[in-house]
Point group: C2
Chain length 408, copies 2
């Protein structure tokens, strides 16, 4: 969590973080600023000192102040003069502005770069800065286990509250979706909407988006609502025109965030309307059994990758093929067990089984648990996923729960 | 437009573009792929040749195919072996993968880097590539007038169709918002919702988000709905708890995009419910007059910045202070006239008055026209904005229109 950052920066031998970009939909920045309506900003985070939030559009001065941080108006660096000094080179002018910022706030040494931005301009800006500030070393850490990601792999009380809030919204929408499917009339095995037309994936997704909007959530990555064969390919999101049929399993994976790019929730159920085919029922029960066994096994202060191994082992014992036997597998257990959830829908800790993955389950982690089995050639997939919190007492708690029934 | 890209790449002496990141909410990538549900991808665009869309998550193979481009499964480069070869360094492993990709598809020479990504990892990956591929020069162009932005500053028929589609959605929502404000009961000068409670900015924004979701649009940057003093600071977005009052001007700036990160529209009206104060009426008429005069003046194949100068001149003649007299101005005409609109809400051509701005108005450009006057100390601001298309015949056409009445 944020309070660990000075120690983590010390371990990585970092003197400061430089986070750039927007304050919305930019997890590294939003982690400090909250989601404020500031489009062009820099955040300086000197180790163990108060961050400085530099905004560059004077029209955004009050929105910047709403972050509650020490703020600085970047226009005080006189960008028009800097543009002249740079010989009319806008990226060099920005580098000159960073030089002034670094001087004013005493930033030097090893500085890690963060923020979701266009790749081209930042590359050129850093090249200019390497000339302008030869004593500063700009560090580009691996996004999977960077210093900031390490801090973010455990959540403080405020963050748990935010994730619970978006979790309640998500589960409300899941409940309404179940209600819609469970109460729609059926004609020739196809669900009907209130106009007597087939209820399609597109119509269901529209309703989901409406409900999310009504409850003040955003859905920047869309929703997976994938019946039949589409559900057999984990990231197929479902085709709008596909009608919903009774007895056909649907993989429903929903992962909205708080408005403005706040915290995410991640949740999956597999449903059959009316009845389930026997082979789907059997696979479902096996996935649920693995879900339960793995959930019971997960303990804090252990390596994440052992649970991916455990999941593979449990599936293999039941006779299913797994990704550890063949990384290119497309039928069976084809992905990893889990990932962290926070200001990004996928963040650390990661559960990849590679030896280089040293991510740990920790007290305060918020992670998914999401085993699944996929059979595109047999026309179905099954996944069960909850977002769980590893509490300070070491117990796992499903952040917001929903029944795990296959048949609606 | 896209067909100009080979020539623009030739002018910039570029042999290829490398675009990385997601295919959603990543304008440079979406420009080629459309909004497909592919989270990890690279697009290689060799000059004058077919682009190659490399996806890295085998679960996304069918979504990748939906882009209709030549596709390549990045897992064929055997990422686990590359990780071993890199000594367990994931960013070096990615650089090794780029090396193989560049070899396979004959990419060499000057390669411009694009895509919205985390700044840190790409910096390190490029540093590795500079060692691995000494004959390749990675170019980070200025985002304001990069080669790709230059192509995007003119739109082809497909793009105009997309912008018109999101424009119709936007104007439908604007109409519903006007209807809501115009028909709400009033008690003590405060608009009431249907429960008899004050109608607030937050409630109006919720309705706007609902309507946008219903019409399959996204609102990733939020909405400005700023009454009174908040409207006097151009990027203040309005505070949720503020009640809507009759006679108080509201700046309503709405800029949604197609679902999944497609094309944007950008639109502003300033409204007073019931009646307008005289000073607001006067300022409104002056902004509208400048809007009309500037709209008539804009012609293709001219420098954008001359219209910012013209706007300042027209406002100054009417006795208003402008940003060309004082770049730090906060009362009067404080921003620039216009910007391009497309896969980003702000893109080229830009209308900044700086001498280094050589952006041109061209046939096929889609731009805003948005003069405004701001008086936070007097408790109001006025802005009028349309999205207009510079047609192939050189005439300006408002893409989707709405009446310009101050009083609802």
């Amino acid at each position: 969590m944020k309070s660990n950052l000075p120690e983590l920066m010390q371990q990585a031998n970092l003197d400061a973080l430089l986070i750039t970009g927007s304050a919305q939909h930019n997890a590294a920045m939003t982690y400090f600023t909250g989601s404020v309506h500031v489009g062009q900003a820099d955040l300086l985070v000197p180790r163990g000192k108060e961050p400085i939030f530099v905004f560059h559009n004077p029209m955004e001065r009050e929105e910047a102040a709403a972050a509650g941080l020490r703020i600085k108006d970047g226009n005080e660096y006189k960008p028009i003069q800097l543009l002249k000094k740079s010989g009319g080179d806008p990226l060099k002018a920005i580098a000159l502005r960073y030089q002034l910022m670094f001087e004013e706030f005493g930033i030097s040494g090893r500085v890690a770069l963060y923020g979701k931005v266009e790749a081209g301009p930042i590359l050129t800006i850093i090249r200019h800065l390497e000339t302008l500030l030869p004593d500063v070393e700009f560090v580009g850490e691996n996004n999977l286990n960077s210093t900031l990601i390490k801090a973010r792999t455990t959540k403080d009380d405020y963050e748990i509250e935010q994730i619970r809030e978006i979790g309640k919204t998500t589960i409300e929408v899941v409940g309404r979706t179940a209600e819609l499917l469970g109460t729609s009339p059926v004609k020739n095995d196809v669900l009907q909407d209130k106009d007597g037309d087939p209820l399609t994936v597109g119509k269901v997704k529209n309703r989901i988006n409406l409900w999310l909007a009504e409850l003040a959530a955003e859905n920047p990555h869309g929703t997976i609502f994938a019946p039949g064969r589409d559900g057999g390919i984990p990231h197929n999101s479902g085709q709008a025109e596909t009608p919903i049929r009774t007895g056909q399993p649907i993989v429903f994976d929903i992962y909205p965030c708080q408005t403005g790019g706040g915290y995410f929730f991640d949740f999956t159920r597999t449903w059959c309307v009316g009845h389930a085919p026997d082979e789907v029922q059997q696979v479902y029960e096996d996935v649920l059994d693995v879900y339960n066994r793995v959930s019971e096994a997960i303990k804090p202060d252990t390596l994440c990758r052992i649970y991916q191994d455990l999941t593979c082992e449990l599936f293999e014992k039941k006779g299913y093929a797994t990704v550890r036997q063949d990384p290119a597998l497309t039928s069976g257990y084809v992905h990893s067990l889990a990932h962290g959830v926070g200001l990004e829908v996928h963040e650390g800790p990661y559960f990849r089984s590679t030896e280089t993955n040293t991510d740990m389950v920790k007290k305060g982690s918020v992670i998914t648990i999401e085993p699944g089995l996929y059979y595109p050639e047999r026309g179905f997939g099954v996944r069960i996923e909850d977002t769980v919190w590893v509490r300070p007492d070491g117990e796992l708690e499903i952040v917001v729960d929903f029944p795990k029934d296959l048949v609606l």
